[in-house]
């Protein structure tokens, strides 16, 4: 493992262009994470089409780095202005902003920087140790039926996160699945929903859909708010919490790493829920929970440690099983496919270099949060003064070009803007955009594996339940679904 890590580090820092991409990812992820109104997903969606010209390792590495630093980036604005740059930093604001009001902003920012780095590094180390054995196990035990069952489980989990109600969560997933059916079906090659247009026969391409749902719909949301960047910049200083203070919170840090890692590894949950759950656990474990929300350092620590701890864990199912767990890892699937690679256990056999470059990059990205976090805090405050009306047309032009360039079809640009409008309308009414995108991507993977699996078992559906792993996963999915529905009904009753 250590030799592999060193080889990956050498490959990462041996090529100036790769270093450039790494630095770009670190800084870009942090900036887009911090600027309210855009998120690291916006940056990732814009960059997605252009990774085609990079080496596969560089492309995947760029997304992994953006994932790590983007998750941290929103913490600064959450603490200083009560504006979380992205959803995964929202719990940071619960206690971070009251700390700013009490004049302890320096300590809060310092703790956020330090804990993000600790959570991320710990998670990266476990990821390095755990992914390869899991992939080796998976290659012998996981076939198309198991992948299908995992996709089913992932969709059930995805439906319960992010939307306002479980019904809207399921609607979001089903919309994604419906979009995934456009184009030729994987077995018979029969055209579905293409309305006689030959351009639609290949299906809706991931990139325009992702660009539309994340980048364009975000612009529409901001256009409605017409948010102008008028913030009162308070004085920012950074004082790291003393070693004793950190040692007092050692249990909080450890617990948050575990919660974050567990949330990250499950498909469909990711960093946002990790941060919320970790904050919730911190309140539940505390002897005096009424202090939370009024500026308690432990709140900042648990939220920021957990959301970064989720990043490394989320890479494990992606690389070992080929299944994305969240919106950003779903985009990584698109990067793999652009280079004719299929993420999954085979990548370990065919291109181990790629994996270790990515692992090493994630480790150093979390480490560089420490360094750049100290330097960049003040730069971010200046960047917040860029009015959004100038950022918006630039993002739209980049998105247009990005959507067009992939296949050279104007249709893709239309698909993107249509996805933007749909995304905007659905988001207003409390649907979950990540669930739609997961439905779209997992839908294609799931359908293909279901069809392959059916051919494998000679169209005998019962075989699916006699394969132990497959049966356990389907049962887990059904139980999760049933408990979600049960909870939805009981909560309606208690309200009424």
């Amino acid at each position: 493992m250590i030799e592999n890590f060193l080889a990956g580090s050498a490959a990462l820092f041996g090529d100036p262009f790769t270093i450039g991409i790494f630095v770009f990812g670190v800084v870009g992820g942090m900036l887009f994470g911090a600027i309210p109104g855009v998120s690291m997903l916006t940056l990732a969606a814009i960059l997605l089409p252009f990774t085609a010209s990079l080496e596969p390792a560089q492309g995947v590495m760029l997304f992994a780095v953006i994932y790590c630093t983007g998750t941290y980036g929103g913490a600064i604005t959450a603490i200083l202005f009560n504006i979380p740059g992205s959803a995964e930093n929202a719990p940071t604001a619960f206690d971070g902003y009251p700390m700013t009001q009490k004049g302890q902003s320096g300590k809060a920012v310092g703790a956020a920087v330090l804990c993000s780095a600790i959570g991320g590094i710990a998670s990266a180390l476990v990821m390095m140790a755990a992914t390869e054995p899991l992939a080796n196990w998976a290659i012998r035990n996981i076939g198309p039926p198991e992948i299908f069952a995992l996709v089913f489980f992932g969709l059930v989990v995805a439906s319960s996160v992010g939307a306002r109600t479980i019904w809207k969560g399921w609607m979001s997933v089903l919309i994604g699945l419906l979009i995934a059916t456009i184009g030729q079906d994987p077995v018979g090659g029969i055209n579905r929903y293409n309305f006689g247009m030959t351009d639609l026969a290949a299906g809706i391409a991931f990139i325009p859909a992702i660009l539309g749902f994340f980048a364009v719909s975000e612009i529409f949301v901001q256009a409605e708010k017409k948010a102008s960047g008028k913030y009162q910049a308070p004085k920012v200083s950074m004082t790291f919490p003393s070693f004793i203070e950190l040692w007092m919170h050692k249990i909080a840090v450890l617990r948050s790493i575990l919660v974050g890692f567990f949330c990250g590894i499950l498909p469909g949950i990711g960093a946002t829920l990790a941060a919320f759950m970790s904050y919730g656990e911190a309140v539940r474990w505390s002897k005096n929970p009424e202090e939370f929300g009024k500026g308690k350092l432990e709140g900042v620590i648990s939220a920021e440690t957990a959301n970064n701890a989720a990043t490394g864990a989320a890479m494990i199912p992606l690389l070992a099983l080929g299944l994305p767990g969240g919106a950003l890892t779903a985009m990584m699937v698109a990067v793999f496919q652009m280079h004719d690679l299929q993420p999954g256990p085979l990548v370990f056999m065919l291109s181990p270099d790629l994996i270790w470059i990515v692992f090493a990059a994630m480790f150093y990205a979390n480490l560089s949060i420490l360094i750049i976090g100290v330097l960049e805090t003040k730069t971010i405050l200046n960047l917040l003064k860029i009015p959004f009306q100038f950022l918006a047309p630039l993002i739209l032009m980049l998105a247009t070009t990005g959507a067009y360039i992939g296949r050279g079809l104007v249709l893709d640009v239309m698909v993107m803007f249509l996805a933007g409008i749909i995304g905007y309308l659905l988001r207003r009414s409390g649907f979950s955009i990540p669930a739609i995108v997961l439905g779209l991507i997992l839908g294609k993977i799931g359908e293909q594996n279901f069809a392959q699996g059916m051919q494998m078992v000679h169209y005998d559906l019962g075989t699916y339940f006699s394969r132990p792993i497959c049966a356990i996963l389907i049962a887990a999915g059904v139980i999760t679904l049933a408990s979600n529905i049960y909870r939805a009904f009981t909560s309606i009753k208690t309200k009424a």
Binding site: A223, P393, T401, M416, F417
Partner: protein
């Protein structure tokens, strides 16, 4: 708000006949206007700036094949932009 939602769509619809090089400045200016900027000098300068960033990035650095349009005056404009770029790069 409906206008904001429709503008990108009209832009996408016109990409094929008119091409991106001619339509982009109008689109950029429209979006800036929708976001509440009303000083026309600011709109003009920012439109030019963003258009230059766009041309510099995609045409001069990446040499990306972008829609040029197929209706006469607009196609000629795109051809002129491309020729200018070729001359600047000394090809």
């Amino acid at each position: 708000m409906i206008a904001v939602l429709l503008t990108p769509f009209i832009f996408a619809y016109l990409l094929k006949p008119i091409g991106i090089y001619f339509s982009a400045p109008f689109f950029i200016a429209a979006i800036i206007w929708f976001f509440g900027e009303r000083r026309w000098k600011v709109i003009l300068i920012m439109t030019l700036f963003i258009y230059c960033v766009f041309i510099g990035l995609f045409l001069m650095i990446l040499n990306a094949p972008l829609p040029q349009g197929n209706v006469s005056p607009f196609y000629d404009f795109s051809a002129w932009v491309l020729k200018l770029n070729a001359k600047l790069q000394g090809i």
